[in-house]
């Protein structure tokens, strides 16, 4: 259900926001930009968390489940969370208020928050 083709400029913007994320993350984000298919969301989120985790666990972010806490279990810190929110705003085209950000504690909460935002 692509509404209009993505401009080269927008493509570059997304690539810049996802600098140093895996190729799979960037591909998922580019597909999402065209399709707005929420099924792409988990790959994008996990890719950005993997990039920005200050103290990543040895088993990696990919294995994280929805009940994992972003700080304690996934290894995010305050700077990393701000980076994740900024990337989400840029790549997904949403706006996140400070208070909304502060209420997100787990991976599941992050996913459902973004789904709700995108559905709105």
């Amino acid at each position: 259900m692509a509404e209009m083709p993505m401009t080269e400029e927008r493509k570059q913007e997304i690539a810049k926001s996802l600098k140093r994320c895996s190729d799979e993350t960037l591909e998922a984000a580019l597909r999402f930009e065209e399709s707005r298919d929420l099924a792409e969301l988990p790959a994008i989120i996990l890719g950005v968390l993997a990039r920005d985790a200050a103290n990543p666990k040895p088993e990696g972010v990919a294995a994280a489940t929805d009940d994992c806490r972003l700080m304690e279990d996934i290894g995010m810190d305050s700077f990393g969370m701000i980076e994740v929110v900024m990337t989400a705003e840029e790549v997904l085209g949403i706006t996140v208020a400070n208070q909304e950000m502060n209420e997100i504690r787990t991976l599941g909460q992050l996913k459902s928050f973004l789904r709700t935002k995108l559905a709105a």
Binding site: R20, D77, F79, G80, I82, E83, M86, E89, E90
Partner: protein, 418 residues
């Protein structure tokens, strides 16, 4: 009052990235000044810098930076780093190892850190530019930290888990000498057992070019000709970056753990010109009072000073003011040897005091007095002052290190053989 000694040194400098390399350069008379192509390409006034070798900062993204192999950072540690803090982390690690401080002594309520840098003009500029053009929501959060003038302080206290006193000093080119003197006082008063003293600066066109606007920098393109402190043809200073670290320690504490001692910090003095925003008082009165205050603090007579590491940056006005100050303090038979090691290193601004204090400690430990290099024709104003135009292989027992900053802030530090 407790006695204070120096038990460790660390260097990232234009003349070497460790103590042995710095010592070798000073002994061999090898300078660190070179043509800086990216600087020369940006302007028509200044081309030389005391470059720091082996460190590269091609973009503002820390993951694009490269360092010598022994300098390691995690991605998380790099997020908030600025170039001068990178240099300082490396110099801190050398100083900690040199002083044989175990982690419990580094991160202890009895150990503090006083530091000085002017911040990273480059990253401050980019931080402001980003919030103004992209907006706050599109500006990476760590740029707040990398843009702050005391970014060095924030980064070092976190990285080394400093638990004692910590302050960032900012008195222009006297900054890290103020830091050292103040750190010495804390130990004398029994408030800390160990103090790290850190001076650091970026070596980037953004922190060099503003001084060219002041016409304070040499316009030479031949490193053999600049900077030339005390030479009649001197035409200004050459800026350098890097970091120098000294470990100051309570003498009894150092003795109890069997630490090796470079020198005793005998005393220090400070005084201000009360004269002008940038120009030094031509009489040198402020610096002379700083030197007298230091001698009084150290309970030393002028005749006991063997060597002075001068501030002398190679500006016409600055060198003349310092010569007048030296002549007014050291009279009759008091004729200490004088050199400015800035001819080798360049002028480190906030770093200068700590770098030259560390060089002074090396001179005492290694038994030599470094030359005032590049002098072809000594300024006749040096008459009555014993400028060392070549290295002197005598051990100085007492060394004074001078610093003067814009605003007329003057500091004299005195070190003596232990």
């Amino acid at each position: 009052m407790n006695r204070v000694v120096v038990t460790g040194l660390g260097f990232i400098s234009s003349i070497g990235n460790n103590r042995a390399a710095v010592l070798d350069s000073l002994r061999a008379g090898r300078g660190g000044i070179e043509l800086m192509p990216e600087l020369a390409a940006m302007n028509d006034r200044v081309k030389l810098a005391g470059t720091v070798k082996g460190f590269h900062f091609p973009t503002s993204d820390p993951l694009d930076w490269s360092f010598p192999e022994n300098v390691q950072f995690s991605r998380t540690q790099l997020r908030t780093m600025i170039p001068n803090a990178v240099y300082s982390v490396a110099a801190m690690e050398e100083a900690i190892s040199d002083a044989q401080l175990d982690p419990t002594l580094v991160s202890s309520p009895e150990t503090g850190l006083y530091c000085a840098s002017a911040g990273s003009a480059w990253l401050t500029h980019l931080a402001i530019e980003s919030v103004l053009t992209r907006g706050p929501a599109r500006t990476s959060a760590p740029t707040v930290v990398t843009g702050m003038p005391n970014s060095l302080h924030l980064n070092l206290t976190a990285r080394f888990a400093i638990k004692g006193a910590s302050v960032a000093f900012n008195s222009a080119c006297a900054s890290s000498s103020h830091a050292l003197g103040s750190a010495c006082d804390l130990i004398r008063l029994g408030r800390q057992k160990i103090m790290f003293v850190v001076g650091a600066e970026d070596c980037h066109p953004y922190n060099i070019l503003p001084f060219a606007s002041l016409r304070a920098l040499s316009s030479q393109s031949d490193p053999a000709l600049a900077p030339r402190p005390f030479d009649v043809s001197r035409d200004g200073f050459v800026i350098t970056g890097g970091s120098a670290v000294l470990v100051l320690e309570d003498a009894d504490h150092a003795a109890a753990r069997g630490a090796s001692i470079y020198a005793e910090v005998k005393g220090w003095g400070q005084a201000s010109d009360g004269y002008d925003v940038v120009a030094p008082d031509p009489s040198g009165d402020g610096l002379a009072r700083a030197m007298r205050n230091a001698l009084q603090d150290a309970h030393l007579h002028v005749s006991e000073v063997d060597y002075i590491n001068a501030h002398a940056t190679a500006t016409s006005a600055g060198d003349l003011a310092e010569l007048n100050a030296l002549k007014s303090v050291f009279k009759n038979n008091a004729r200490p040897k004088v050199s400015s090691t800035k001819a080798f290193t360049g002028h480190g601004l906030s770093l200068a005091g700590a770098l030259e204090a560390a060089i002074s400690c090396l001179a005492i430990r290694e038994g030599f007095m470094p030359a005032s290099a590049k002098i072809e024709l000594l300024d006749p104003a040096c008459d009555g002052v014993s400028i060392l135009t070549s290295r002197c292989d005598e051990r100085p027992r007492v060394v004074m290190s001078n610093s003067s900053g814009f605003g007329g802030a003057n500091v004299a530090l005195i070190f003596a053989e232990p």
